[in-house]
C-alpha cells in the first residue's frame, strides 16, 4: 500500500489537473460560468431561509443557518460519492488507453467536492457574521472535521467506484440510498428531537458525527464531542482501508470491463 501512495504522489500533477478540469467543466458553457460555484449555495440558502422562516415558521433560532451548515457538509459527501461511483466507467476511454494509478479518478471527484465546499465557505462565513456569530477558537476544528469527512468520503468512493465497474446497478440504487441516508442524518432536524436511545443509534452513522461536529463548532460554539470524533476517525479509516483494498484488487481488470 505504501508503494501505491508513492505512485499517487508521483501522479499528483495529474490529480490536480483532473480536479481542475472537473471544476471547470461543471459550469462550462453557461453564461455565469465559475460564478455558479457561489451562486448555487447562495440561492439554496435564500430559498431555505424563505421557506423555513416565512412559510413554515420554524422556531429554532437561525434555523436556515443551522441547516445550511449541515447541508454543505452533506453535499460534499453525497456529490462526491454519487459522482465517483460511476467515474471509472465514465472515464473509460482514459482507463483503456493510458496508464495511471486508477485511484486518481475517484480522488479527483472527491477533491473537486472538497474544493467546492471550501468555496462555499465564502458564502457561509459572511452569513455567520451577518447573523451575529463571531469567530471563536472552536472554528479551528473545521479543517479537522473536514479531514474526517474527506477520509470517509474517499473510502466509500473507492469502494463504490470499483464495484460499479462490475455491477452497474449501484449507480442507480445509490440515489435512493443516499436520500434515505440524508434523512437518517441530522441535517434538517436537530438530533435533540430524537429520543436518547434512537439518538445513540443515529450516532453510529459516521456522517452524523461529521454533521454534528460541524454544528457544534459553527452553530453551538462548542468543541466537538471528542468520543464521537474519535469514533468517527476510527470508522472512516476502516472504511478507507477496506475500500482501497477492494479497489486495488478490482482495478486490474478495469480496462477490460469498462
Amino acid at each position: 500500500m505504501f508503494g501505491r501512495i508513492g505512485e499517487l504522489w508521483k501522479y499528483r500533477e495529474m490529480l490536480w489537473s483532473m480536479i481542475l478540469s472537473e471544476l471547470r467543466t461543471r459550469y462550462r458553457g453557461s453564461f455565469l460560468g465559475f460564478l455558479w460555484t457561489f451562486i448555487n449555495p447562495l440561492l439554496t440558502l435564500l430559498v431555505y431561509t424563505f421557506i423555513f422562516s416565512k412559510i413554515m415558521k420554524v422556531t429554532m433560532p437561525h434555523y436556515s443557518l443551522f441547516m445550511f451548515i449541515g447541508l454543505l457538509a452533506w453535499n460534499l459527501f453525497a456529490t462526491g460519492v454519487q459522482s465517483s461511483s460511476s467515474v471509472i466507467v465514465r472515464q473509460g476511454s482514459l482507463v483503456k488507453k493510458i496508464y495511471f494509478p486508477r485511484e486518481i479518478l475517484p480522488l479527483s471527484v472527491v477533491g473537486g467536492s472538497v474544493i467546492n465546499y471550501l468555496l462555499s465557505l465564502v458564502i457561509l462565513v459572511p452569513f455567520l457574521l451577518i447573523s451575529g456569530y463571531r469567530p471563536t477558537v472552536d472554528w479551528l476544528f473545521v479543517p479537522l472535521i473536514l479531514l474526517l469527512e474527506t477520509i470517509f468520503t474517499v473510502g466509500l468512493s473507492l469502494l463504490l467506484s470499483s464495484l460499479t465497474v462490475y455491477l452497474r446497478d449501484i449507480e442507480h440504487m445509490l440515489g435512493i440510498f443516499l436520500m434515505l441516508w440524508f434523512y437518517l442524518t441530522p441535517v434538517v432536524y436537530s438530533i435533540t428531537i430524537l429520543s436518547p436511545r434512537i439518538a445513540q443509534l443515529f450516532k453510529l452513522n459516521p456522517m452524523s458525527d461529521v454533521v454534528l461536529s460541524f454544528q457544534s463548532v459553527l452553530y453551538y460554539h462548542e468543541s466537538p464531542h471528542w468520543k464521537l470524533f474519535v469514533y468517527g476517525f476510527v470508522i472512516s479509516t476502516a472504511v478507507l482501508i477496506s475500500g482501497w483494498w477492494l479497489f486495488v484488487r478490482l482495478n486490474r481488470r478495469f480496462a477490460e470491463e469498462v
Binding site: E13, S21, T25, R28, Y99, Y166, R253
Partner: protein, 438 residues
Amino acid sequence: MVNKEIVISVKNVSKNFRVHLERNHTLKERILYAGRAKYRDFVALRDVSLDVLKGESVGLIGVNGSGKSTLLKLMSKILYPDAGSVEVQGRVSSLLELGAGFHPDFSGRENVFMNGALLGLSRKEIRAKLDEIIDFSELGDFIDEPVRSYSSGMYMRLAFSVAVAVDPEIILIDEILAVGDAAFQAKCMNRLRELRARDTTIIIVAHDTSAVERFCDRVIWMHDSRVKMEGKPINCIQAYLATVFRASNEGTNTMSFERSENIATSTETRSIQEDARHADLERAIDESGLRWGTGDVVIEQVEVSSGSGSGLVQCGEPLDITIRFSVKKDVEDVDFGIGFFTVDDVQCYGTNTRLDRYGNISLHQGTGSITFQSSDFCLLPGSYWIDVACSAADTQAYDYWRKAIQVQVYSDQNDVGLCRVPHQWSLSKVLIESYSRD
C-alpha cells in the same frame, strides 16, 4: 548491444479476455446467472517471452488480432497479465490510441497541459516546453480551438507532439502514425530517430512493413497469440509477408476464437526458396502474390555475392547476382530480367537480356544458372529488393519473382541520392591552394 541492460522483460506472459456473450452487468442478472456467467475466454497471448534492451527499436508485426496491441498494453500497464510477469524500467510514454486523455471541450493548449500531466509532467515543465510542442504540432491558430473541432490528423499531431516532448525513456506507439499526412509522418520519423539516437527505447506496432524495416533494429512477428519469429527486420518481414499473402490467397485469414494448437512454436525458418522447391509447381509460382508465371521455367534460387559477402556489397564494388533455374519444358526465345527497388518500392534500375541485346536464348529441360555481373555497383547505401524474372519474348512470364532477395549496400562515402553517377571534378583554374582530390 550485448552488454546493454534489459528495460522491458516479458516472461511467460499469458492473457485471456473474457468475451461476454451476454453481459451480466445488472444485479438481477448477476443473481439469476450467478456461477454460470456466459462468457468465453479469448486467448490474446499465450506464453509470450521477450526482452527489449535499452536503446533498441523494436517493430511488432502481425495480422490483426494476433496480440500485438495487447502486448503493448501490458507493457504500458493498462492491462495486467493472467500469468507471467511484465517488468518495465523507465519513464514510459505511450501513444496507444488517438486522443486518449484529450478533453473535447478544452482548447489544444489546455489539453497539452492535461495530457502532459497524464504523462507525468509538472505544469512548470510543460510551460517550459509549450512553445516547442505547439511548434512541432504545426497546429497554428487551431491550438486555441477546442479539440472537438479537430480532425483525426490534428488529434494525432497534438498527441504525438506531447508524447515526444516528455523525454521518455521508453516510447510505445500503436499504429497511430498512419493518420498524419506524409510530411508530418516524415517529421515524426525524424523525431523518433532523434530519440533513438539519445538511447530511447522505441516499440512500434505497425502494418507498414517498409517503415518498420527502415526504422527498427529488430522485428517481432506475432502470430496466433505467440511470438512466431524474431530477428532481423528483413528476414521477419519477408517471412511474414509471404505467410500473410499466402493465407489470404487460401482464404484462411478469418479470425477465430480458437487458436490452432498445433502450430510449431517459435521460429519459422522455412525459406521461400525451400517452399518453392518442395511445393508443387503452380502453387510455388503463385505463392504470396509476389510471384507469378506459367512455370515452364522455375527460378530456384537467387544469390547475391560480392567481395563483402553474401547479400552485402560496398557501393562501387563488383557484384554478382546468380539466378539458378530449372527448365520444365523446352522453351525458345527466353529473356532473363532483373530489377532493383528501394524498400519504398521505387524502381532504381531494371533491364533484361533482350534490352542488353544478348540475342535469342533457348533452354532445354534441366537446370542451369545465369549471372548478372556488375563491375561497379553504383546504388547508394540502403537495402534494395531485387526482382528477377524469366519470360518469353511475348513477355509472357515463365516465372516472375517480386522481391526475390535483398541486397544491402554500404559505403564509406556520404554522397546522397539513389545511385552514384560515375564522375570526376575538374577545375579550370586552381583557386584554392589545397585543392586536391583526396
